[in-house]
């Protein structure tokens, strides 16, 4: 192991960087610049791969694709604009600094959300705030849809007390799957757990909230 490490390292930098850069270019041929989805991965994920391999121009595109959605997610948790913007900036800086650790063929959205979630939790703890990963408004929108706006206010009242009783872990899974639109596998990456656990948690949260909705519907 020692001999191999010493013997190959003089050639490692240029060779590895050339291989990874040309490999990315061969595989995606600039696909991240043009196509919304390539080989089953989003354009943002392909751009992150390119950025991790040294294409610095991809960062601007990453921000344009991901920042609005990320801001919405963080803003829902912080409830305040200023710290939400700060956390968005910190998230992108973390992605920049840790770009070499971004796994090939991973989802950049899940990675980004996991970083933002961790930063938001730290912010809430530093501020002495109780971190509530689900806003009533988003839950109402997710469950009822825009065509039922008139009944949304009453539903909000009915659901508020029920939401408080849902454990945080279940609320988080429900938020990521039902509101943010992640697959169970992606939500599992964000939360650091298994896809099966995410499905169970989201399902259990739905069961807890269903009686309140059913009561209102009657």
């Amino acid at each position: 192991m020692f001999g191999f490490a010493v013997g190959t390292f003089p050639f490692s930098v240029d060779f590895i960087e050339w291989r990874s850069r040309t490999g990315t270019q061969r595989r995606s041929a600039g696909a991240w610049r043009m196509e919304a989805v390539h080989e089953g991965r989003s354009r943002a994920s392909l751009a992150m791969d390119a950025y991790a391999d040294g294409d610095d121009s991809a960062f601007s595109m990453l921000y344009d694709e991901l920042a609005p959605k990320l801001y919405g997610y963080v803003r829902r948790m912080t409830r305040i604009d200023e710290p939400a913007r700060d956390i968005v900036q910190q998230t992108f800086m973390n992605m920049h600094h840790a770009r070499s650790r971004f796994s090939r063929r991973a989802s950049v959205e899940a990675w980004m959300y996991a970083i933002a979630r961790r930063l938001t939790i730290n912010w809430a703890r530093a501020e002495g705030r109780r971190w509530v990963p689900l806003a009533v408004e988003e839950l109402v929108s997710a469950l009822r849809g825009p065509e039922e706006e008139a009944s949304a206010a009453e539903l909000r009242e009915a659901l508020f007390s029920e939401i408080e009783s849902v454990p945080e872990k279940l609320r988080e899974a429900f938020l990521l799957v039902r509101v943010e639109g992640f697959s169970a596998a992606e939500a599992a990456e964000v939360l650091g757990t298994s896809a099966m656990a995410v499905k169970l948690r989201a399902h259990r949260a739905g069961i807890i909230l269903r009686p309140a909705m059913a009561k209102f519907g009657e």
């Binding site: 601007s60 913007r85 770009r99 070499s100 996991a114 961790r118």
Partner: protein, 217 residues
């Protein structure tokens, strides 16, 4: 709810130019350089006291069991920590728990093969513990500051797993030089320090492996 002002993007682009980061290729090359340095340190640390001959206190079979288990666990743990694969964080948490437990199992197995090993007491415990402190500190510094596998999501867990990997490597080095396979000594001088190194790794990892902090305006 207001959106993101456009100056945030400009600030970020400016900051990324001011604070360059390693690409995959450069990070991998840096990793291999520091692994080479760590290998040298480990090799030197393994021979510093010389390898004693086998005896009733440490039969050859005992040494083989512990050394091979420590080597296998160290290699596996190092790979899990450093390779940027997609893996659940539970794998890293499992590494932190499994490495000391499996080293303990290997140590007790080795002790069972040396039923006549004499209790050595605190002089030998202290020798092995001090070797752990020095070698573990050096290798942990190489891992955290040299290789530095950044993890903005779970830096504490990654630091602890790195500490467990370092602990396994140091167990290999110490076992080669330790003249006793007695069970109490294995527990005090070879397994408990692995937990300590993992704990130090967790504490330092929280600081060194997370590039958090306020983005400057």
């Amino acid at each position: 709810m207001n959106g993101l002002p456009p100056e945030i993007k400009h600030q970020l682009l400016s900051l990324t130019r001011q604070e360059p980061s390693l690409t995959r290729g450069r990070a991998l090359a840096r990793q291999w350089r520091w692994l080479a340095v760590g290998s040298l340190v480990l090799a030197a640390g393994s021979l510093i006291r010389g390898i004693p001959a086998t005896s009733e206190d440490r039969p050859g079979v005992s040494l083989a069991v512990v050394a091979s288990a420590a080597f296998a666990l160290a290699l596996l743990a190092t790979t899990l920590v450093l390779a940027p694969w997609r893996r659940p964080r539970s794998i890293l948490r499992g590494t932190v728990l499994a490495v000391p437990l499996l080293l303990l199992a290997a140590g007790l197995t080795a002790s069972s093969v040396a039923p006549d090993a004499r209790p050595m007491g605190w002089p030998l415990h202290s020798m092995c513990l001090s070797l752990f402190a020095v070698l573990g500190g050096l290798l942990l510094a190489i891992g955290l500051l040299g290789i530095r596998p950044l993890d903005p999501i779970a830096p504490t867990t990654t630091g602890a797993a790195l500490g467990a990997a370092v602990g396994a490597w140091v167990t290999l080095a110490v076992s080669l030089q330790c003249p006793s396979a007695e069970s109490t000594h294995v527990l005090v001088g070879h397994v408990t320090p692995v937990l300590a190194v993992a704990a130090v790794g967790a504490a330092l990892g929280a600081r060194t492996l997370a590039r958090r902090g306020r983005a400057r305006p």
